[in-house]
């Protein structure tokens, strides 16, 4: 692809105090592409995502979104463009706020008018009933909560969506629904996504390319076709593939 990549990460290092969590990571994601980050827990994949989102201060290297370099502080325009869906829908919604209030917050911050209609449309888009609008998170199921979180991420029309294991806290039956919803929304809105997961099947389902991480490093970047054809070169990738076959039986 000749055009400028939507997300470019070069030589990213992340430190938490004295521990070096992410080491010299580089990758880029084209506009409209979905890029997967896969690895065992503790491999640093979620940290990469949170660092891009501006939630981790201690990093160096170069990160750019839509051609603009990211500094230590993100401005409001950045958050208009980049949004994130968190792993645990039980922890990512404010327990004292109704769905309506949660969805209204990004609109208020960005000064977007027409909140009523936008909230109604956002609920429709993630297939939540209107009756859910004034409920509190504890009155919703896990799958419904994650739909609220997705609606919140999309309500200010971002172009980049960061997905941090969006289905791993959900029941298996609900996982497929949420994955299909994400897949549909990505098509409809031309989103650029980075998906973090420990599940190769989920990654293969949604991503065109993926990076395999181990111990804070990317050990291999390959396309989904290469993955399916079994052309993974690194031994850790092959281990992960073997493991996912084993789990699926």
């Amino acid at each position: 692809m000749s055009q400028l990549p939507m997300i470019a990460i070069e030589h990213l290092d992340v430190h938490f105090g004295s521990s070096h969590v992410v080491r010299d990571i580089s990758f880029s994601v084209a506009a409209g592409e979905t890029f997967g980050l896969v690895g065992e827990s503790g491999s640093g994949k979620s940290t990469v995502l949170r660092t891009i989102a501006g939630l981790n201060p201690g990093w160096d290297g170069r990160m750019a979104v839509a051609g603009q370099n990211l500094g230590p502080r993100r401005d409001r325009a950045f958050f208009r463009r980049v949004q994130m869906v968190f792993q645990d829908p039980y922890g990512s919604l404010h327990p004292r706020q109704t769905v309506d209030r949660i969805l209204a917050e990004p609109l208020e911050v960005h000064g977007i008018a027409d909140a009523e209609a936008r909230i109604a449309r956002a609920l429709e888009e993630v297939a939540l009933p209107h009756t859910a609008r004034f409920r509190y998170p504890h009155q919703l199921s896990g799958g419904q909560r994650q739909r609220v979180a997705i609606a919140r991420a999309l309500i200010a029309d971002p172009s980049v969506l960061l997905l941090d294991e969006p289905t791993s806290a959900l029941d298996v039956s609900v996982q497929a629904e949420v994955l299909n919803l994400l897949s549909d929304l990505r098509e409809a809105r031309q989103l650029t996504c980075i998906l973090v997961s420990h599940n190769l099947a989920v990654i293969a389902h949604l991503c065109e390319r993926l990076a395999v991480m181990q111990g804070g490093r990317i050990v291999e970047i390959l396309s989904e076709a290469e993955l399916r054809a079994g052309r993974a070169k690194h031994s850790h990738t092959q281990d992960l593939i073997a493991l996912s076959y084993e789990l699926e039986g």
């Binding site: 950045f78 990512s92 919604l93 327990p95 990004p106 911050v109 409920r135 979180a149």
Partner: protein, 300 residues
Amino acid sequence: MSATTRREWLLSDTPASRAQARWGRRYQLWLAFRRNWLAVAGLLIVVAMLLLAIFAPLLATHDPGAQQLANRLQPPSAAHWFGTDELGRDSWSRLLYGGRVTLGMVVAVVILVAPLGLVVGCVAGYAGGLLDKVLMRVTDVFLAFPRLILALAFVAAMKPGVESAVVAIALTAWPPYARLARAETLTIRNTDYIAAVRMTGASHWRVIWKHVTPMCMPSLTVRVTLDMSSIILTAAGLGFLGLGAQPPIPEWGTMIATARRFILEQWWVPVIPGIAIFTASLAFNLLGDGLRDVLDPKQR
């Protein structure tokens, strides 16, 4: 709207408006609170005492300052329900007006202290780093002062009176709230829902004010209610030592102090304001205990 449909409207699982959701949640809390009859009793007593204090001019049978030296130290009777004090003033009327001063001091202290503690604690907890260290060391310094002694020194430095007593108590009462709010904020600041709010691009003030403080409010409310009794006692203690309300203003602590000479012969004179202090403190404690059962996030 009849009673049953209003109940259904409040308890609806699918509220149709912001107001319905909010009132529904409050109603749920009230239902939980109502199950604890001791707490309800505490609430009723607190409300009754506040009403008595507010409507003191209407309820008092005598002028609280009017002296009748021929009529001093009378036992309770039809003319003087709670008897008279050493200057022949009506104890019932003085008790009502004293409630205005004592409870008014408590309310004033809480209004000064709770927001200050909340802001200091939330800002320190959320900001972390140097600001946290500075704010918390200041809090520690205030926390290290013996409460009554600092209040004493402060009142002595200023002119004794209700206002300086309020400021003195407030000065020593805010650090525990700051500590509490900070502890709550520390558990909240790294949650995903606050990260999600930060990802909307909201300013730090907005995050603290709209999203962090509401989570600190329940435990702070409980703590304030439980502390009411000790604020009453400190206010009365300052009054007893002559550093709070000045005569002839009636104040429960001052009333005990001036009447303590008669505790053996005319015991009702100092005992009646003592019972008022005791009842108010107990009622606030019961109320606070009930609120904790309902509001404490760790129990829900």
